[in-house]
Symmetry: C2
Subunit: 357 residues, 2 copies
């Protein structure tokens, strides 16, 4: 049996742990939250901060490999672990993904077009189309961001930055046609597997729905994520969020981990992103990322639906994370796989109706 | 969150527990084995005999419903529980399935053709085609059975019975064309869902492979298992093993639980038999039992394969039960889903080769 340590015990850790059971992979998560976290359903939980030396020592002693479910963990903890046990992805990959400025520099170095050339300092006025002032590190689901209109001055930028803790980055607002993402994996021996590009629908900065594969023609995002994984010597799953603008792709953000926009793969692909990540970090061969059919995922946000109502929908798969309900909190998701795109769309519409109550 | 108590913590309990996690169903198993059983990977384990009063009290206190993963549990325990908490399937269903003679009488009462009219006592000589002397209760995977040729005498039958503990049953040997089974489920409100009939290949009394759906035309087994579930007022999954003889079906044995011949449903059907059983016993709507494509399952028996070799096969899904290797012991299974029957057959052949070492 292989034991995998995971920093983070949320729903991603939970789905990793569940995927590990059939393969004989046992997960041990480190999670600072006081209550039993979602991962407790299928993993052993070490209740500790991510930099707790006793917890890290225990991980190093008991695990064959250590990975992450969130990228916002102390790089120092990963570096300490990496001297004692394989850490996949490595600390430097996580560091690159934590800092939006470092990420932008990486994209530039690899010649990957990005939305804007973000600025490390708030030196000038806002971008012509509007500006988003963001934390360089941390913050997700639209938190830690301030949006400014095209007419914002330097003083407006400074005022926005004052509302945010820590160093900031100014990004130009992009008028995109749609948001896409691609999830891929790279194994210890450098093999890669790429899932189909998907379309994501956000509202208030939170992912609401994923359509897999993305409808219509999509530019080649697979080669971009492969270039990133190879440049970083990444091992595990990586997700890359992109904007499509007039048929071209602009890289937005990378996540060196399993990703909300890949949840559809549990039922919708031959190998789920969770099994894939465990295969990769455990030094096992990658699995087939082929889709089983047109899939859709709808996030459950803020309010839990009646489980019976969801499960009464033909072919609906309910995933509850076991978290207390809170406004704008991701509490679960529902996936469907259609016989064709229209069937998938109809099934998603039915899910949406049930979730709306 | 719903808590389901399960008598038995083997691989079936484990797969039930794993299926429960996404739905917010937590499983607590009672398991007498000394070592951590397979279900420990995703369920809480009460380490106790099935008739341990403290364990049963804890189940009754903590669980919303109690079910089984093996039918050879004391009916008295189920009856005691049933006075305190819903037990699904009910004690009388389990009792009927425990005793091969009661089972045969049930088949006869419902007009379901069986292989032979089994005899409750060893009164006469062997059947013309040969005889199997079996325990009336207990024994599975060919254990607790003695086979006798056509020429066996009454003394031979008595000698065979002397090798077996407990009351015996003599069954006539059937020359069947193939072995089939059908897995179905019935919900609390009487709704039913039936998986496609599958073909099973046994060797030495142990299931080796399942082909789903069974190749070629199959007689209607769905109506038979529905009749059985309704007659017994069964709730949960039920499996019925059958012989096909010249295009007709003869009932062999029923199991009021998830079944080895339904393992293919995890990857091969929209709703797995494990999720289906939990939906049924928890009073939730049944899921779609439609197959995702032609599937095959190969049991891992006696010797664990190299996991890497199995996972390197495109589309192979490895299920390891976490049990110590022992001759003729089911240690896991591998499933494949093909784009068509030929593809499925090719994939199964590849799995067979890897398992043969």
């Amino acid at each position: 049996m292989t034991t995998v340590g995971i920093l983070g015990g949320g729903q991603l850790g939970r789905m990793l742990a569940v995927a590990g059971v059939p393969m004989g992979v046992r997960c041990v998560v480190v999670e600072p939250a006081a209550d039993p976290p979602p991962a407790a359903a299928a993993a052993e939980v070490l209740s500790a901060e991510y930099d707790d030396s006793r917890a890290l020592e225990e991980l190093a002693r008991r695990c064959d490999v250590v990975t992450i479910e969130v990228e916002h963990v102390p790089v120092e903890s990963l570096a300490w672990l990496a001297e004692r046990v394989p850490v996949r992805p490595g600390p430097e990959v996580v560091a690159a993904a934590q800092d939006r400025w470092a990420e932008k520099q990486l994209f530039a170095r690899l010649g990957i077009p990005t939305a804007v050339s973000g600025r490390p300092e708030l030196m000038a006025d806002a971008f012509a189309e509007g500006t988003i002032v963001k934390r360089r590190t941390g913050g997700f689901d639209g938190r830690g961001q301030v949006r400014l209109g095209p007419s914002a001055s330097h003083a407006d930028l400074l005022a926005a930055a004052a509302q945010i803790t820590g160093p900031c980055l100014a990004e130009g607002l992009v008028r995109f046609d749609r948001e896409l993402s691609v999830v891929a994996a790279r194994s210890c021996d450098g093999a890669v597997a790429v899932y189909p590009v998907v379309e994501n629908r956000h509202r208030d900065g939170i992912l609401r729905e994923t359509i897999a594969p993305a409808p219509g023609a999509t530019p080649d995002a697979g080669s971009v994520v492969i270039r990133l994984m190879e440049a970083l010597d990444h091992v595990g799953v990586m997700a890359l969020e992109l904007f499509e603008v007039a048929g071209a792709l602009l890289a937005n953000e990378l996540a060196p981990r399993v990703h909300n926009s890949g949840h559809w793969t549990i039922e919708g692909a031959v190998t789920s992103q969770f099994e894939q990540h465990l295969r990769a970090v455990c030094g096992l061969p990658l699995g087939d990322p082929s889709p089983r059919g047109p899939s859709g995922m709808v996030n459950v946000i803020g309010v839990e639906p009646d489980p019976s109502a969801v499960l009464a929908l033909p072919g609906a798969h309910l995933h509850r994370y076991g978290k207390a309900a809170r406004r704008e909190r991701k509490l679960g998701h529902v996936t469907v796989v259609g016989v064709d795109a229209q069937d998938r769309d109809d099934r998603m519409a039915a899910v949406r109706r049930v979730l709306a109550g």
